[in-house]
Symmetry: C2
Subunit: 221 residues, 2 copies
């Protein structure tokens, strides 16, 4: 979901940046998209990659994609030197409390915006509504300082705490309806790409927030 929500909301994602995602799973899914030509991934920790290759070969298969350039470096530094370059940037990080804290700050969203092409789309892991509503509000507030069109979406992951995960998804293109897939996978594509979770209907459903969440996030804007 962290891949196909931004890729299909964008509609024509040719060049994609992945920040983090050291297990390879995001690269694996992004590389499936028929329109994506080039993927750059910046992961700060070589050990995460090595351990994933050893113990999570199914995920790490993403590193074998011919579309992928994998760089072991600091995403902050990389983006400072690569501006106006990407259609979609996906940040696949750990939670907002701890080492990944700086991937949820306003200054991080400023950096994302500069690395994006105009009307590009970003998507970041965003915490869950059941335990982190205050963090989500804070993250969205920071994101709204740099993007005009900001949404929160969620999907089910039974092995995660609370059984779900959330995403912050944003663009500067106000005409883009992020909750609607602009690139719509056909039934044939869903089969061929072996998508187990995502469908165009699931895309839209991910943005339908429980009333208490909708109320809480509305007031943060």
């Amino acid at each position: 979901m962290i891949t196909f929500l931004p890729l299909n909301a964008h509609g024509n994602p040719q060049k994609v940046l992945i920040v983090g995602g050291g297990d390879g799973g995001v690269a694996r899914e992004v590389s499936k998209h028929p329109l994506v030509k080039e993927i750059v991934q910046v992961e700060i920790d070589q050990k995460v990659i090595d351990v994933s290759k050893k113990y999570l070969p199914g995920m790490a298969a993403g590193f074998d994609s011919p579309k992928l350039t994998l760089l072991v470096c600091d995403g902050f530094e990389y983006m400072k030197n690569h501006q106006n370059e990407f259609d979609v940037i996906i940040t696949d990080s750990s939670d907002p409390v701890g080492p990944a804290e700086n991937l949820f700050t306003e200054s991080y969203f400023a950096l994302l915006k500069k690395a994006l092409k105009p009307n590009g789309v970003i998507c970041s892991q965003g915490g869950t509504v059941w335990c982190c509503l205050d963090y989500i509000k804070k993250t969205l507030d920071g994101c709204r300082k740099h993007f005009k069109n900001v949404e929160y979406a969620r999907c089910s992951v039974p092995t995660y705490p609370n059984g779900e995960i959330g995403f912050v998804i944003a663009t500067d293109d106000q005409s883009l309806q992020l909750s609607k897939a602009k690139y719509v996978f056909t039934e044939k594509e869903l089969d061929e790409l072996r998508l187990k979770y995502y469908t165009p209907e699931v895309h839209t459903a991910a943005f339908a927030l429980p009333n208490f969440v909708r109320q809480a996030l509305k007031s943060s804007s």
Copy 2:
């Protein structure tokens, strides 16, 4: 969700039967609905009611509704003697393995159909896709023998195993789109009824199933 999905899919739910639901929570929510005039609840176990009143007063508040007639008896026997009577029947049971097993059988759906008015809507707890996909298929197959229009929906409940719960929802009215609220709560109603989860958008989103679930349940029809 087990209440507002069938009530609002139906559109004009005046008389409602609750089977089970001994904690009072379903009665509490059904009684909020402005169109509902009369609720009958059949709970087989007086002790569940007593313990809920003592330890779960917030849920058991539902038993104080002036719309409610609470009967301690066997739902199977009750329905045999009350046919063609209800607009909506909600079965709030425990899981399909164990004491509530007979609430997931084909013969139970036959009984529900007879107790319903023509074009009434039923909704039953239906197990989750992450652990019970085979049970869900079996339940839907049984349900489809008695109802022409059968769907499965789900919502997030972080304290349940897998973080979610599912519902079997069905009617004989083939023109009814169960995934669309026919009675649409206004913003004012959502506020006044203090609905924390349900909105008309959440109603529709509950029916957007992950691709593997959609595929699995499609083949069972």
